[in-house]
C-alpha cells in the first residue's frame, strides 16, 4: 500500500499566488496548480458531441420513437383552486385508441392546470380526443394566485395545514442594527421587486418508459439520471438495479429537471399498465405552468454608510412566493465586507395558488443581487462616490479586486458621467455588479471508469448527464491530458446509469465533481499500463510518463514507445480503473468571483433600454475547455439580460391563470436584443480538488440584471427598482423623477 504524499502547490493567478501544502491520497495524482504545463487542458477543444448536435443526429428523449410506443398526456384542473368531486373517464376509456389511464388521486387542486389523471393513447390525435372526453366534476374555490392576494388578512388559505405566510427566523440583531444605523453618515432605503421567471427549457420535461419484464428502461430529459433512477425504483417498487436511465442529450434544464416528477411517474405506470412503451412530453403550456419557476421577491432594504464609503448596518426584509412549493428566499449574496453582526435579515415565503417554484440557475441569487447592488448604488450616490470605487473599497475578494480594474478599463468606465447628467432622448449609462459562487465539487459524488483497450483507444465513462455544459468533453479532455493523448483517442460516454455514479447537475457541481474522478481514473489506469510496459522493457514504472502519444522513458529516450504499441502489451484484454472523487482540500479562496459591467443607451421617449455592451469577467478555476467555459459565460450573461429586460410570468388575478404560458407572450431575449459581449475568463489555479476545476454555470447569470440596472440608473438619474425593466417601468421611474423635481 502506497502512502499519502505531502505536496506543495502554487495556487492563485497573475501576481496573486500563494503556496499551500496539501496531503494527496495515494490513489490520486499530484494536483494541477499554477505551475502545471498542459497539453490539451485549457485549449479551445471542440465539443465531443458537437457533430451530433450540428447534424441533428443527437437523439433527445423528445426524439425517441420506439416500436409500439404510446403517447401519454394529462387531464388538468381548469381553475386555480378546486375540490375534485369525481372524474369520469369512461368515455375516454372506451376510445379505441386509449390503452391506459393513471389516476393521481387528487382531491383538492391548488393551482390552475394541476395534473389530475394521465392517459396513454395510440397517437397524439387519439390522446387529444381522449383528454377532451374526460369529465371532471369539481367545485371551484376562492384562490390567491398572486402575492398581494395571498398576503392580506382573510386571504384564501393555499394549504390546508399551514398559513400562507411562513416566516424564517429573524436575525435577532435588529437592535444593534438600529443603533448603528443612527450613527451612520447616510442612510439609504429602497424596495426592489423581481418577477417570476420560467425556466422554459426548449426541450420540455419528458420521459419515455419501457418495461422489459421486470426491467424498466427510461429515457429522460433530466439533470439527474441517478435521481430519476432512484425516484422510479421507489415509485414502482423495483430494485434500482432493474432501472436503467438514459439521457445522452437533453435540451436544457436550468434547475427544473431533477427527479422523475409526475411525468416520469405517469410514463412508468402507463407503460406498466399497457405493456407498451410510453412517451410523455409536456407541451409548452404545461412546461410553463406545472414544472417550476424562479420565485418572485419583494426586498426592502436600509443601509447605513459612512462619508468615506465604509459599509455600516444593513437591514433587509425579503418576501417571495414559492407558489404551492416551499422556500422562496432571495439571497442577497454577501459579497461585500459587511460586518456580520450589523446585518439583520428577515425572510418570509408567501404561498400562492400557482405552480411550485423549483431551483433555477443560482437560486435566490439574481434577485438578491439586483436588490443588493441597488442599495449599494444608492449609497454610493448618496455620498457622492463612484460606484466602482465604492465596490473596490468594500470587496475583499482578490479575484474580483483584479476584475474591477480590468473590466472598468474594458467597458470604458472613464467615460461614465455622473448619474442623470445626460439630457435628451437617448441617454447613456454604465453599471457594475458582482457575483460569488461556492463550488469546488462534492466529495464522494462521482466515479469514472477509464478503460484502455488493446487497440490504443481509451474510454472515459460516467453515468451522469451533460446538460449542455460540456461534461462529456470535459471527461475526454481530462483523459487525454492524463494519458498524453490527442482528443480523438479518447471516447467519452455519458448519460447511462449503467455506468458509474455521478452527481445531479445542480449548484454548478458537475464539472468540479466529475473532473477529479475522471483524472483519478485515467491516472490509475495509466499507472497499470506503465507497470505493464515497465515489466516488458525491464524499466522502473516510475521512470515512465505519458506525453504526445508516447510512453516516454524519462531517462533513456531510446526506450520510449508509442502509446498504441504499449497497449498491445496488455495481456488481459484491457485495463480498466475506477476513479473516485476524493475529499476537497484547501482552495485558493473558498469562493469564486465574477464581475460584470454594462453599458446602455436608454430611449427616454419610449422607455426602451438598449444594451450596448456587457463585459463579463469570471473566475473559472483551472479552465478545462476554454471554448465551453466561454460559452457558459456568454450563456449566463444572455439569460441574465433576458431576466433583466423581458421575462415575466403574468398571472390573471381574477382567474388565477398564467396568461402568457407560451413563447409568443412570454418574452425571452432573442438575437436582436444582443449587445456586444466581451467574456473574460480568469484562469485561476484554484486548488480544492486535483484538477482545480470550478463550476461556473450559475455565477455567470447572477450579476447581469444588477449591472444593467446600474447602467440605467446612471443614464436616467433614477433607479428602476422592478424587474424586468420594461418600457412602462422605465417611463414610470422617469415620471417619478420629474415629480420629485
Amino acid at each position: 500500500m502506497e502512502a499519502d504524499r505531502k505536496v506543495k502547490l502554487v495556487l492563485g493567478f497573475g501576481d496573486q499566488r500563494r503556496e499551500i501544502e496539501v496531503n494527496v491520497p495515494a490513489e490520486d495524482p499530484i494536483p494541477w496548480d499554477a505551475t502545471t504545463k498542459f497539453s490539451v487542458v485549457g485549449t479551445a477543444a471542440p465539443r465531443a458531441d458537437g457533430v451530433a448536435k450540428v447534424t441533428g443526429r443527437a437523439k433527445y428523449t423528445h426524439d425517441m420513437n420506439l416500436p409500439g410506443m404510446l403517447y401519454g398526456g394529462f387531464v388538468r384542473c381548469p381553475v386555480a383552486k378546486a375540490t375534485i368531486n369525481g372524474i369520469d373517464w369512461s368515455a375516454a376509456q372506451a376510445h379505441p385508441g386509449v390503452k391506459a389511464i393513471h389516476d393521481f388521486k387528487v382531491k383538492q387542486t391548488r393551482y390552475a392546470h394541476q395534473h389530475l389523471i394521465a392517459i396513454a393513447a395510440e397517437s397524439r390525435q387519439a390522446l387529444e380526443q381522449a383528454i377532451a372526453l374526460v369529465k371532471v366534476d369539481y367545485k371551484a374555490l376562492p384562490h390567491a394566485a398572486r402575492f398581494e392576494q395571498a398576503m392580506v388578512d382573510g386571504a384564501p388559505q393555499v394549504h390546508a395545514n399551514r398559513p400562507n405566510i411562513e416566516a424564517y427566523s429573524p436575525s435577532g440583531r435588529e437592535k444593534a442594527v438600529q443603533e448603528a444605523m443612527q450613527s451612520a453618515d447616510k442612510v439609504v432605503e429602497a424596495t426592489c421587486t423581481t418577477q417570476v421567471q420560467n425556466h422554459c427549457s426548449l426541450e420540455s420535461h419528458g420521459i419515455v418508459a419501457h418495461w422489459e419484464g421486470e426491467q424498466l428502461k427510461i429515457w429522460a430529459s433530466t439533470q439527474a439520471t441517478f435521481g430519476v433512477r432512484r425516484d422510479l425504483a421507489d415509485a414502482m417498487n423495483v430494485d434500482e438495479a432493474n432501472v436503467q436511465v438514459i439521457c445522452e442529450y437533453m435540451g436544457g434544464g436550468f434547475g427544473s429537471k431533477f427527479g422523475a416528477g409526475y411525468p416520469g411517474l405517469a410514463a412508468a405506470n402507463l407503460a406498466k399498465l399497457s405493456g407498451r412503451p410510453v412517451k410523455v412530453m409536456l407541451d409548452r403550456r404545461e412546461e410553463m405552468t406545472d414544472v417550476g419557476n424562479r420565485p418572485d421577491s419583494v426586498q426592502t432594504m436600509k443601509l447605513g454608510v459612512s462619508k468615506d464609503g465604509a459599509l455600516g448596518a444593513y437591514k433587509v426584509d425579503i418576501v417571495g412566493t414559492p407558489g404551492v412549493g416551499r422556500g422562496a428566499g432571495a439571497r442577497n449574496p454577501m459579497i461585500y465586507a459587511f460586518e456580520d453582526r450589523l446585518v439583520a435579515r428577515t425572510e418570509r415565503a408567501v404561498a400562492t395558488n400557482a405552480g411550485a417554484q423549483q431551483a433555477f440557475r443560482a437560486p435566490g441569487h439574481p434577485q438578491g443581487s439586483f436588490a443588493l447592488e441597488t442599495i449599494l448604488d444608492l449609497a454610493a450616490e448618496a455620498i457622492g462616490m463612484d460606484p466602482l470605487e465604492f465596490r473596490i473599497k468594500n470587496d475583499p475578494h482578490p479575484t474580483r479586486k483584479a476584475q474591477y480594474k480590468d473590466g472598468g478599463a474594458r467597458i470604458g468606465w472613464k467615460n461614465r458621467k455622473p448619474n442623470g447628467s445626460e439630457a435628451g432622448r437617448f441617454r447613456r449609462g454604465f453599471g457594475v455588479a458582482s457575483a460569488v459562487w461556492y463550488q469546488i465539487g462534492q466529495p464522494q459524488g462521482a466515479e469514472v471508469l477509464c478503460r484502455i483497450l488493446r487497440d490504443g483507444s481509451v474510454q472515459m465513462r460516467n453515468g451522469s448527464q451533460d446538460i449542455g455544459t460540456g461534461t462529456r468533453t470535459l471527461m475526454q479532455i481530462i483523459g487525454a491530458e492524463e494519458l498524453g493523448l490527442s482528443l480523438d483517442r479518447v471516447v467519452p460516454f455519458i448519460g447511462d446509469t449503467r455506468d458509474p455514479i455521478g452527481p445531479g447537475s445542480g449548484g454548478s457541481v458537475t464539472a468540479p465533481t466529475v473532473a477529479p474522478a475522471a483524472r483519478q481514473a485515467a491516472y490509475l489506469a495509466g499507472k497499470e499500463l506503465r507497470a505493464v510496459v515497465a515489466k516488458a522493457m525491464g524499466a522502473s514504472a516510475d521512470d515512465l510518463a505519458f506525453s504526445q502519444g508516447q510512453v516516454v522513458h524519462q531517462k533513456d529516450a531510446t526506450k520510449s514507445m508509442a502509446f498504441a504499441d504499449a497497449c498491445k502489451l496488455i495481456d488481459q484484454g484491457e485495463i480498466s480503473a475506477l476513479g473516485k472523487r476524493s475529499k476537497n482540500f484547501q482552495a485558493f479562496e473558498g469562493t469564486v468571483g465574477g464581475v460584470q459591467f454594462a453599458e446602455v443607451e436608454v430611449d427616454c421617449d419610449y422607455g426602451i433600454v438598449r444594451l450596448k455592451k456587457v463585459v463579463a469577467l469570471q473566475d473559472a478555476g483551472i479552465i478545462i475547455n476554454r471554448r465551453q467555459a466561454e460559452s457558459q459565460l456568454n450563456g449566463g450573461v444572455i439569460q441574465g439580460i433576458s431576466y433583466a429586460l423581458f421575462e415575466e410570468r403574468v398571472m390573471d388575478r381574477q382567474l388565477g391563470q398564467m396568461v402568457n404560458a407560451d413563447m409568443e407572450m412570454y418574452k425571452i431575449a432573442g438575437a436582436v436584443d444582443m449587445p456586444e459581449i466581451e467574456s473574460v475568463l480568469y484562469d485561476v489555479s484554484n486548488g480544492g480538488n486535483t484538477t482545480g476545476t470550478a463550476g461556473i454555470a450559475e455565477p455567470t447569470m447572477i450579476p447581469t440584471a444588477a449591472a444593467i440596472a446600474g447602467a440605467v440608473h446612471n443614464a436616467l438619474g433614477v433607479r428602476v427598482t422592478s424587474l424586468p425593466m420594461t418600457p412602462d417601468r422605465v417611463l414610470a421611474a422617469l415620471a417619478q423623477k420629474e415629480k420629485g423635481k
Partner: protein, 208 residues
C-alpha cells in the same frame, strides 16, 4: 382539387401560415382516402372526417412518399412518420424557430405548414445538409464557434443561418441578427452563432 382541409372551419393555424404558397400543391400529388380504422367514436369532438392522404415530395434530394393525416403538420410528418428527428418541436405555434426547415429553399416553421401543402415541393432538413460525410460550412461554423450548448435550438438555428448565407454571402451582424430573430435559444448561444455565421461565410468563400 384543392388541398384537403384548407377550407375547413376551425383550423385556425392556417391563418398563421406565412408565405408558403398554400395554393400551389401540385394536382395529382395528394391522394385522399377516408381511413375507416382511424375514425374515432361518434361523440369524439374532432375534425369531422379524419383522412389519410398520400403525398409525394422531394426530401433532402430524394423523392419521398408519406401517408399523412388530416391536419398533420410537416413537422409531425418529418418527426413521427419519417423518423427525421433532427427538426425539433418546441412551441408548436411559430414562436421559436426550432422547427425551421427549408421549403423550396426558403426557411419556414414546419409546425405551421400542413403536410399536404408540401406535395410536389422541395424540403430540406438539418439531416440533408452534410454531404458525403462532410459538414456544411454553417455546421462547421457552429462547431468551430461552439454555437450549441444543449443543442436543442441548433438544427433550427442552422437552417435559418444557411438560408441567410444562401441569399447573402456576406451578412453584417445586424443582418445576421435579423435572420435568426425568429429563433429562440434558451442556453444563450446567440453570440457564438454570430461568430459561427462569420466563420461559415469565410468558409463558403473558400477561406479557412
Amino acid at each position: 382539387m384543392h388541398p384537403p382541409d384548407s377550407e375547413k372551419p376551425g383550423l385556425s393555424r392556417r391563418g398563421f401560415l406565412k408565405g408558403t404558397g398554400l395554393s400551389v400543391a401540385a394536382v395529382g400529388l395528394v391522394k385522399s382516402a377516408t381511413a375507416a380504422q382511424e375514425a374515432p367514436a361518434a361523440e369524439v369532438p374532432t375534425l369531422s372526417a379524419a383522412q389519410t392522404h398520400e403525398i409525394s415530395f422531394e426530401l433532402n434530394g430524394q423523392t419521398t412518399q408519406a401517408k399523412v393525416r388530416t391536419g398533420h403538420t410537416l413537422l409531425e410528418t418529418l418527426r413521427d412518420q419519417l423518423d427525421l428527428t433532427g427538426t425539433k418541436l418546441v412551441c408548436d405555434q411559430g414562436s421559436c424557430g426550432a422547427c425551421t426547415v427549408h421549403l423550396d429553399g426558403k426557411p419556414v416553421n414546419s409546425c405551421l405548414v400542413f403536410a399536404t401543402d408540401v406535395a410536389g415541393r422541395q424540403i430540406t432538413t438539418i439531416e440533408g445538409l452534410a454531404k458525403n460525410g462532410n459538414l456544411h460550412p454553417v455546421q462547421a461554423g457552429f462547431l468551430h464557434e461552439d454555437a450549441s450548448q444543449c443543442g436543442f435550438c441548433t438544427p433550427g438555428m442552422i437552417m435559418s443561418c444557411k438560408a441567410l448565407l444562401d441569399r447573402n454571402p456576406s451578412p453584417t451582424r445586424d443582418e445576421c441578427k435579423e435572420a435568426i430573430s425568429g429563433n429562440i435559444c434558451r442556453c444563450g448561444t446567440y453570440f457564438n452563432i454570430f461568430r459561427a455565421v462569420d466563420h461559415a461565410a469565410t468558409l463558403m468563400k473558400g477561406g479557412r
